[in-house]
Amino acid sequence: MDRPELLKTFQRMATEIAEKDFGHVTEEHVIADLGIDSLGMLELVGSMERELKIAVPDEQLVGIQTVRQLLDLVEKRTRASA
């Protein structure tokens, strides 16, 4: 999955979980500014883990603030599990 696809996956899952449109979200956005708190982010990560069949260790989720940081992490885990 390339980076634009990964961003689309993020947008789709965030929309699904938060039940509002996140189609406009870019990698520069700060996740908390989107109204997604840290526990909401965990749900989002969990959904991405499920869809992409990856596992992100808990400790790597600490410090994630932007969409870019989250996608970097997911991309890294996707590559590791390939």
Partner: protein, 272 residues
């Protein structure tokens, strides 16, 4: 209706907890804190942080009354725990107030005014069932434990041994309370894993610390506490959320799954 095993397990948990509390954790806020080792040079903001803890702890009458409302019919163990919890929590506010008075950071008149102002507001119970409130207690007591420890370190940094001791005693009680709540949540999980997982997801999603909106100048006070106690959202995840889930034997994936099932059910029901 809970099973006999549920009550038996809770009874055993409470007996173990209370026996240990009586044997190892009893302390006297007037006699066991080294009050002669207050540092008069401790900065004013450290006292403001202590006053904020006091503000949150001072809603004890609401916590007891509204907490007991949901557990009184649930089990003997939970209502007994609630009674003992109130006694132990009372000492936290007593010790904090003693610090503020004995250090000269506040006068009695200021303390009585502060208390009167606090009681113009009322704490609202955030969740409606004994199970949800027990889960809430697991997270909230663990978070309070972590924050007390951070501020104990801050008090030590300013060589205020008395305040450090107050925080240490309070923290020791908080972690004991957190463990009790967690052990009860484990029993709930054994009784009804799906329902308990749904409640954990619900509580986690809607979790707020007590004090929001009821302690005067809460936002500014919490900012000060976060800044100097080095407490932020990541600390909550690292030191509270993940450890509690680990202790309960619950994975993030399980919570994601129940949240998804619940969402699907809600949509299906709305579509009918």
């Amino acid at each position: 209706m809970a099973s006999d095993q549920f009550h038996e397990k809770l009874y055993k948990n409470f007996t173990t907890f209370f026996d240990k509390a009586e044997q190892e954790r009893r302390w006297n806020p007037y006699r066991d804190v080294p009050w002669d080792r207050i540092n008069p040079e401790t900065p004013a903001f450290v006292a403001t942080c202590a006053e904020t803890f006091l503000g949150v702890e001072s809603f004890l009458p609401d916590y007891i009354r509204k907490g007991l409302e949901v557990v009184r019919a649930s089990s003997w163990a939970q209502r007994s725990f609630a009674a003992n919890w109130g006694y132990e929590e009372l000492k936290h506010s007593v010790a904090l107030m003693e610090y503020l008075l004995r250090s000269g950071k506040r006068t009695q008149e200021q303390m009585f005014d502060f208390q009167a102002k606090l009681m113009t507001e009322e704490w609202r119970r955030p969740f409606d069932t004994a199970r949800q409130m027990t889960i809430y207690g697991s997270f909230q007591e663990m978070a309070t434990f972590v924050i007390y420890l951070r501020h104990e370190a801050l008090a030590k940094q300013y060589n205020d041994d008395a305040l450090a001791a107050v925080y240490r005693f309070n923290a020791r009680d908080e972690i004991a309370h957190a463990r009790f709540y967690e052990d009860i949540v484990k029993v709930y999980l054994e009784e009804d894993r799906e329902g308990t997982l749904r409640d954990i997801a619900h509580v986690a999603k809607n979790f707020e610390m007590p004090g929001i909106g009821i302690v005067p100048d809460y936002d500014a006070r919490i900012e000060l506490m976060r800044e100097h106690g080095h407490v932020d959202r990541d600390i909550f995840l690292q030191k509270v959320y993940f450890p509690v889930l680990k202790y309960l034997g619950v994975t993030r994936q399980e919570l994601v799954e129940v949240a998804r099932r619940e969402r699907d059910e809600r949509r299906a029901s709305a579509a009918q």
